[in-house]
């Protein structure tokens, strides 16, 4: 017994001693075996692009279409939102995509990457995102993002200005890149620096236009997208990645998913505008929109390869057509009628080529050049006999309304034109009540966590500063 006790005592001493010594080592197993903690920052670009895709073409863009006469809500959530019953939660994902999906990743790229091509593209993406945020929400956090715990809400104008600065930086970065360089992780333009410079300039023009700096917008648009191939469109290189659900066109996803029957193009204002024989039709002796009407027909029934709802149909972000129409509007506003008309006809020539959109090829398409007299009182583009100047501007606005279908630009233009040129704005009527929505609701997550968020948040009928 005595010797056994001794052994036991020894055993305890050894046990206690070794356990204390080896504890530290024994417990040092917390490094995460499942994740990478260091990746080349260039590999973050694609994620930024997908985050931007959701901002530009996702849920809130579809909501903007419900509020802009481009889609109708039929059932469930989209039916309610169509009738202006919307809650701040609808913006949660988009806000996360902007600030984490784009800005946090871009901070890493700008800090770590030595590649001006990637850095330049990333900056254009960020400017694209934040400009859209300003347009949808008015004042949003930007300058203090990532530095302050509760980032201040910058004024809408300041955000647009910051986006301009960022675009200038991006252009400077992209200019340093040899023009033959490409970057395959860019799923939008295959890393073509010249194309990205043009996109940056069109974006500059878009933002100048939003704050009504027409000469600056005109100047920027002249350096903007000069050929359809340089248009920024989601998944232009779709086929390179195979065709799975998760790289499909977003309209395709919603119209084949569990919310398939909740919204439709059928019966919306744009439907009536492009259709023939409707009271609001824009078809005339020089214009036949049949094929474009088919192309834009979005519905769970009738998804086909000619339509924008096809799984591989590219979705527009910043297009050659938009650039042409910015030139038309700002050319008209700065240089006058003839410049506006010339630029509008340039767009019509583009439409006439038949490559601006798909649509059922057996259906007609006709976009003859307009001449000045078409805008005379009582003429084909001026049935209501307003001043010819106004009639031309009205047509430019209407053309842009159709040509930028599927982007947030339509909603921007509607609100902007209503504020300054209400006489020639698109003749929509509110889906419910008497007022048009003027903004999206600030995201619930932001309200919850940021003491600088306005309280109460502005409702959807409150104009954003640039349209006040």
């Amino acid at each position: 017994m005595i010797t056994m006790k001794k052994y036991i005592r020894k055993f305890i001493y050894i046990l206690v001693l070794t356990s204390f010594i080896s504890c530290e080592q024994y417990l040092d197993i917390n490094e995460d075996p499942n994740v990478l903690t260091d990746v080349p920052s260039e590999l973050l670009l694609k994620g930024m692009i997908l985050a931007d895709t959701q901002i530009q073409s996702g849920h809130l863009m579809r909501i903007s279409q419900l509020w802009s006469g481009q889609l109708k809500g039929k059932a469930s959530l989209y039916d309610r939102i169509y009738n202006y019953n919307v809650s701040p939660e609808e913006g949660n994902d988009i806000w996360a995509f902007m600030y984490h999906g784009i800005m946090t990743q871009n901070d890493i790229i700008q800090e770590d990457s030595a590649d001006n091509l990637v850095k330049g593209i990333a900056n254009v993406i960020e400017a694209h995102g934040i400009g859209s945020m300003a347009s949808m929400f008015g004042d949003v956090p930007y300058s203090e993002v990532g530095t302050a715990e509760d980032a201040a809400f910058d004024g809408q104008l300041a955000v647009y200005q910051a986006a301009q600065t960022l675009l200038n930086d991006a252009i400077a970065q992209l200019t340093l890149v040899p023009s033959a360089r490409r970057f395959s992780d860019d799923i939008l333009l295959n890393g073509n620096p010249a194309a990205w410079i043009q996109v940056a300039n069109t974006l500059k023009a878009r933002y100048f236009l939003a704050v009504r700096q027409y000469p600056e917008a005109y100047a920027s648009a002249q350096a903007g997208i000069s050929t359809a191939a340089n248009s920024l469109r989601y998944a232009a290189a779709y086929s390179a990645y195979g065709t799975t659900n998760e790289n499909s066109n977003l309209y395709n996803l919603i119209f084949t998913g569990s919310r398939a029957g909740d919204l439709t193009f059928n019966g919306c204002f744009t439907d009536g505008l492009l259709n023939t024989g409707t009271p609001t039709t824009r078809n005339n002796s020089k214009t036949n929109e049949s094929r474009r009407h088919d192309y834009l027909t979005l519905d769970e029934a009738g998804i086909n390869a000619n339509r924008l709802s096809w799984k591989s149909a590219p979705m527009p972000f910043v297009t050659y057509e938009e650039n042409l129409l910015i030139l038309a509007e700002t050319g008209f506003r700065t240089l006058g009628f003839n410049e506006g008309l010339t630029r509008l006809n340039a767009l019509r020539a583009r439409l006439r080529s038949g490559s601006a959109f798909l649509g059922n090829p057996t259906l007609s398409l006709q976009y003859d050049d307009y001449v000045a007299s078409d805008f005379d009182a009582g003429s084909i583009e001026n049935a209501t006999s307003i001043a010819a100047d106004r009639a031309l501007l009205r047509e430019i606005i209407e053309e842009k309304y159709v040509s930028t279908f599927g982007t947030l630009v339509t909603f921007d233009d509607l609100r902007r034109i209503r504020a300054t040129d209400n006489d020639i704005s698109i003749p929509l009527t509110p889906n419910s009540g008497t007022k048009f929505p003027e903004r999206m609701l600030i995201a619930q997550d932001e309200i919850n966590g940021n003491s600088n968020a306005p309280s109460p948040i502005p409702d959807i009928f409150t104009k954003t500063p640039v349209n006040e």
């Binding site: 036991i8 059932a75 469930s76 980032a151 790289n247 919850n448």
Partner: protein, 1078 residues
């Protein structure tokens, strides 16, 4: 060492030393089965000379020459008086005192203690009570059996997990109690996995159910932090201590248990049968809703078909042709039939469930070695067709006494189970979603067949659902429920091994060592198969395989010291150290886009295969010490200190605990006829914690999907890429800390016939780990940090009154009442943290509110609380964000029962109640939007002109579909325009406030009648006893909530609760059992 030799030497040595002065006797105290009793008191009669037995029941005591009678006592046993005479070694066998059988309790470390000496709060659940419920799942059998213990089921799916909570939720990060089986922690995880979301998918199992209930000897629930402090970070949610059966010396004992249970759905959602599929009062064969034409006004007879062009041919050859939708002139369109199918549809999906349970155990042994062996098989068919659960268990345990100072005991058990679960919840491939949204006039029978398009091109194996009645597209929108049960499978197969071994070293009479180690390993292999044309984005087919491999090992070294400091003060010290290692690997394979429409359950069938691997490992170490001082039988003081460190925590932690028990009745010198038999005051303080989840220190890079609403796109689908994780890592993570104060009183009255126990507690959990949703502009979505604080305050009361006791008849009433009030006091500046996914109604933490409040969109209210109505007199949506809509936590819960024994009969009736808990009846609310819920089938004749939500006026006297309600500005008509806008449906843009209701319930939890035969005839046949029993579970339920048992939870066994969203229903059962003992 040979025992005889040892004692001979001992006797020789002692006798030679003390032969002429005193006499020292040694002996052992055991119970009548031969189990040694540790801590029994041995006193020389008429003196203060005493000793207590060690852990092997051994004692040694010195006798004066004229004193040779020993008094041996042990709580729970009858006292024995032994005349020593000339004996030098004595064997004392104590007989159990059935009057106070409960009075021996098991400490958290697994050692026997005297009940009256324990100062912490616990409840003992008799195995008879627990097993009498005859639940196929162990957890559910604990419901209603102890105060402070809440068992919430998830659904009646066979094998489905349940939530166990002791004293409410102690942490946002789950606070299911630590389960300790024979001193070894048991994994009781309930993992959702990647293939099945918490809001929709299948009910996952709870690993506690892997135990064979027949193996259980005792169950004790330790509620307070003071008792759990020795377990440190595992015991945040309390400790449930289970001891399992061991063999006993003596003849071979055999026990055979068999039971058959018949289960039925206990609540059905009421649906309307008056109006058909469609909208605006017109029939449409493809509409989502049932706002169509009035069925009774149809022409009757067969529908008018268009037999040229496309059609669907079912497997039995039945052809379905297009039927014209209604129009303004003919609202019925081609629909003539007035048949409705609600009941037949229902009967095709549900059935009477059947569970067969057979358990056999054998035990026996001799003084040196004992063995225990058990096996069981459970075969269960659930109430939904094709849901099932099969479980086999085998256990083998033995104890072996090597010599006087070394004994060991070892046990190994193996469980395998297999189950097919049915998809449910927020999931368009789920069963209830497709069944309850299904219009009354749609027959689900022919759910699969061939679709022929207008050109005659066939598509075989098409899915026919009510929104695709011709099966004319790949997407059924919502599954036909028959497709869900017959074509989809969600299997899980579990293999589990649990082994433990412990050695007890009896070093000296006052010093013992226990070395224990355990291994708990399981493999859970889950396969989910959605063939081509299934809903839930599986139109092109989806195969998922998720395998969990979990291995936990633990080792513990305990030293136990026992001293009699003075005549009046006894002291016990326990020192221990323990290590614990938990390792889990998860392999997940997802195969999408099937290459052909086959039923092969293998990724080879698909073109798009993703594999994910997750590894998780956490270790912790503990050193603890506990001292126990006992002054006479009056004062009892326990002081404990535990040091713990875990691999996932940046800092180690120390937990103190203190318990004081004051048996003041022992000071009163109570006479035998005093009404008071026993009284004790308990005071306790303790701290426990919770270690962070492992691997949370870094912010890594991840691949990701981006979705804003039903439109997910992923990096992987574009050739891969990364993003810095949106969940920010935190290298400063440390333990959550809970401290608890409690005070309690125990009384026993009328010669122990009435037992009362009451406890008040307050606890606070600080530094709770919380992935707070950051405001997006912070640049991240979430940050895990030691942020939140939560308080719980509660009262518990238990009683048991044996009010009638005659030789043949005994009647007891028993029960408990308890309250728990929680309040979230700190959330790091964040307004709310959601525990559940989805945007409609969430169960969340909100500062200043109880944990888990229901948060969601509300109606606009005026300052006085009344509804702020629109011009038509209808409520309006409050667009300013989420509001607190209700509290799913009950104000109080309780249960009361009657136990009667008459000769061989025993009866047990147990009622359980929960009062003041709210539920978001989202199924009902959504179905209102779909126009299938019963209220939407009503018709009214307004007595005055009324307007509907869209402002249309309906004249008095004309019958109209809808309901009249007065929101405060006069009666209005609730019709399609209301139910499909703000008054029904899903999302954050409806007034979800109207979905929340009081879900208080009372139920007859258990009713069981048993008859035991132990007559001579049985004995002659060689049997000890035969028992027959008939048990009803959940037979009656009283609640204002219709359609669903308010105890179900969409979110399974998580922290979020109080939500029903197409959740699989609960059941009621009748069980017949037979038990044969040999």
């Amino acid at each position: 060492m040979n025992r005889k030799l040892f004692f001979s030497i001992l006797v020789f040595v002692f006798s030679s030393a003390f032969i002429y002065a005193q006499k020292t006797v040694t002996g052992t105290v055991s119970d009548n089965s031969g189990m040694p009793l540790a801590g029994a008191s041995v006193v020389v009669k008429g003196t203060s000379i005493g000793a207590s037995t060690d852990f092997d029941g051994n004692f040694s005591i010195t006798l004066q020459p004229n004193n040779n009678v020993l008094l041996v006592s042990y709580v729970g046993y009858k006292n024995a008086e032994i005349t020593v005479g000339s004996q030098m070694t004595i064997k004392v066998t104590l007989v159990e005192d059935s009057e106070s059988l409960d009075e021996v309790v098991i400490s958290v470390l697994g050692f026997k203690e005297k009940r009256d000496a324990v100062a912490s709060t616990y409840s003992v659940i008799g195995t008879k009570d627990a097993l009498g419920a005859k639940e196929p799942t162990l957890i559910n059998s604990l419901a209603g059996k102890a105060s402070g213990l809440t068992i919430t089921g998830t659904s009646a799916d066979p094998g489905a997990g349940s939530t166990i909570q002791i004293r409410g939720v102690s942490s946002i990060n789950g606070s299911s109690p630590l389960i300790v089986v024979d001193g070894i922690p048991l994994n009781n995880s309930n993992l959702e996995g990647l293939a099945s979301d918490s809001d929709g998918g299948v009910s996952q199992q709870s690993r506690l159910n892997d135990i064979n209930p027949d193996d259980i000897e005792t169950i004790q629930v330790f509620k307070g932090a003071s008792a759990g402090a020795l377990y440190g970070s595992s015991a945040l949610g309390g400790v449930i201590v289970i001891t399992t059966k061991r063999g006993q010396a003596g003849k071979l004992k055999v026990s055979l248990n068999s039971s058959i249970s018949i289960d039925q759905i206990n609540r059905r959602h009421p649906l309307q049968t008056s109006f058909g599929q469609g909208s605006g009062g017109r029939y449409s064969p493809t509409a989502a809703n049932s706002w169509g034409d009035k069925i009774s006004e149809r022409a009757g007879g067969e529908d008018t078909f268009t037999t040229t062009g496309r059609y669907f041919e079912a497997q039995d050859g039945t052809k379905y042709y297009p039927v014209a939708a209604g129009s303004a002139s003919n609202v019925h369109g081609g629909k003539n039939s007035t048949e409705v199918f609600n009941d037949s549809n229902f009967d095709q999906v549900f059935r009477d469930g059947l569970a067969e349970d057979v358990r056999l155990n054998l035990s026996g042994g001799n003084e040196k070695a004992t063995f225990y062996f058990s096996m069981s098989r459970l075969d269960q068919e659930g109430i939904m067709i094709n849901s099932n659960y099969t479980k086999n268990t085998f256990t083998f345990g033995n104890t072996f006494k090597f010599n006087d100072w070394l004994t060991s005991s070892a046990k190994i058990s193996y469980t395998n189970s297999k189950s097919n679960r049915i998809q449910q919840g927020s999931n368009t491939a789920g069963i209830y979603l497709g069944l309850l949204r299904n219009p009354a006039d749609f027959d689900i029978s022919d759910y699969i067949g061939t679709y022929y398009d207008a050109n005659g091109n066939p598509t075989p194996l098409r899915h026919r659902s009510y929104r695709r009645y011709l099966g004319d597209s790949a997407n059924p929108t919502y599954n036909n429920p028959l497709w869900t049960i017959y074509e989809q499978t969600s299997d899980t197969k579990v293999n589990r091994y649990i082994g433990s071994i412990d050695f007890t070293i009896n070093a000296t009479p006052w010093l013992n060592f226990v070395v224990r180690s355990g291994l708990d390993s399981y493999n859970d292999d889950r396969t989910y198969f959605f063939p081509v044309f299934s809903g839930d984005s599986a139109n092109n087919g989806r195969y998922q395989n998720e395998i969990y491999n979990n291995i936990e090992t633990s080792a513990e070294f305990i030293s136990l010291l026992n001293f009699q400091l003075t005549d009046d003060i006894a002291a016990k010290f326990t020192f221990g150290s323990a290590v614990n290692d938990k390792k889990r690997t998860q392999i997940y394979v997802e195969a999408l886009d099937f290459l052909y429409n086959g039923r092969l359950q293998n990724p080879a069938i698909a073109s798009n295969i993703t594999e994910v691997e997750g590894n998780r490992r956490i270790r912790n170490i503990r050193f603890y010490g506990q001292s126990n001082f006992e002054y006479k039988d009056v004062l009892n003081l326990n002081l404990g200190l535990t040091f713990e460190d875990a691999s996932s925590s940046a800092k180690s932690i120390v937990y103190p605990s203190a318990e004081l028990g004051f048996n003041w009745s022992n000071l009163l010198e109570l006479s035998g006829d005093s009404p008071l038999s026993f009284a004790k005051l308990r005071l306790a303080y303790g701290e426990v914690g919770l270690a962070p989840d492992p691997h949370g220190w870094e912010t890594g890079y991840e691949t990701a999907s981006y979705t804003s609403y039903s439109d997910g796109i992923s990096l992987n689908a574009f050739g891969g890429g990364f993003r810095l994780n949106d969940d920010q890592g935190n290298p400063y993570l440390e333990f959550e800390k809970k401290k608890e104060y409690e005070a309690g009183l125990d009384f026993r009255l009328f010669r122990n016939r009435l037992k009362l126990s009451g406890t008040y507690y307050f606890n606070e959990t600080r530094d709770m780990l919380l992935p707070i949703s950051l405001n997006p502009s912070s640049g991240f979505d979430t940050l895990l940090g030691n942020i939140a604080t939560l308080e719980n305050t509660g009262m518990e009361f238990e009683f048991d009154y044996n009010f009638l006791k005659k030789p043949d008849l005994s009647l007891n009433v028993y029960g408990n009442v308890f309250t728990n009030k929680s309040e979230v006091t700190e959330l790091g500046g964040v307004t709310s943290v959601d525990f559940t996914a989805g945007s409609s109604v969430k169960s969340s933490a909100v500062v200043g509110e109880p944990l888990g409040v229901l948060l969601g969109s509300a109606a606009l209210h005026n300052a006085d609380g009344s509804l702020d109505l629109d011009a038509n007199g209808f409520p309006q949506l409050d667009g300013s964000g989420d509001k607190v809509l209700g509290d799913p936590n009950p104000d109080w819960r309780g249960s009361a029962g009657l136990r009667a024994n008459y000769k061989g009969f025993s009866l047990n009736v147990l009622f359980e109640t929960s009062q003041g808990n709210d539920i978001a009846e989202r199924t009902r609310f959504v179905l209102q939007g779909f126009g299938t819920y019963s209220v939407t089938g009503n018709e009214v004749t307004p007595t005055q002109d009324v307007v509907n939500y869209s402002g249309t006026t309906f004249p008095a006297g004309a019958l109209v579909r809808g309901n009249i309600q007065d929101f405060g500005a006069g009666p209005v008509l609730l019709d399609e325009s209301w139910y499909t806008s703000l008054g029904g449906g899903f999302g954050g843009s409806v007034i979800n406030e109207f979905a929340v209701n009081d879900a208080s319930w009372t139920r007859l939890r258990e009713l069981s009648l048993a008859y035991t035969l132990n007559s001579n005839m049985i004995k002659k046949a060689g049997l000890e006893s035969i028992q027959f029993s008939l048990t009803g579970r959940n037979l009656v339920l009283w609640s204002k909530i219709k359609g669903i048992d308010p105890d179900v939870n969409q979110f399974g066994a998580g922290v979020g609760k109080g939500l029903d969203y197409f959740t699989n229903p609960s059941s009621k059962s009748v069980v017949f059992g037979i038990n044969i003992n040999y």
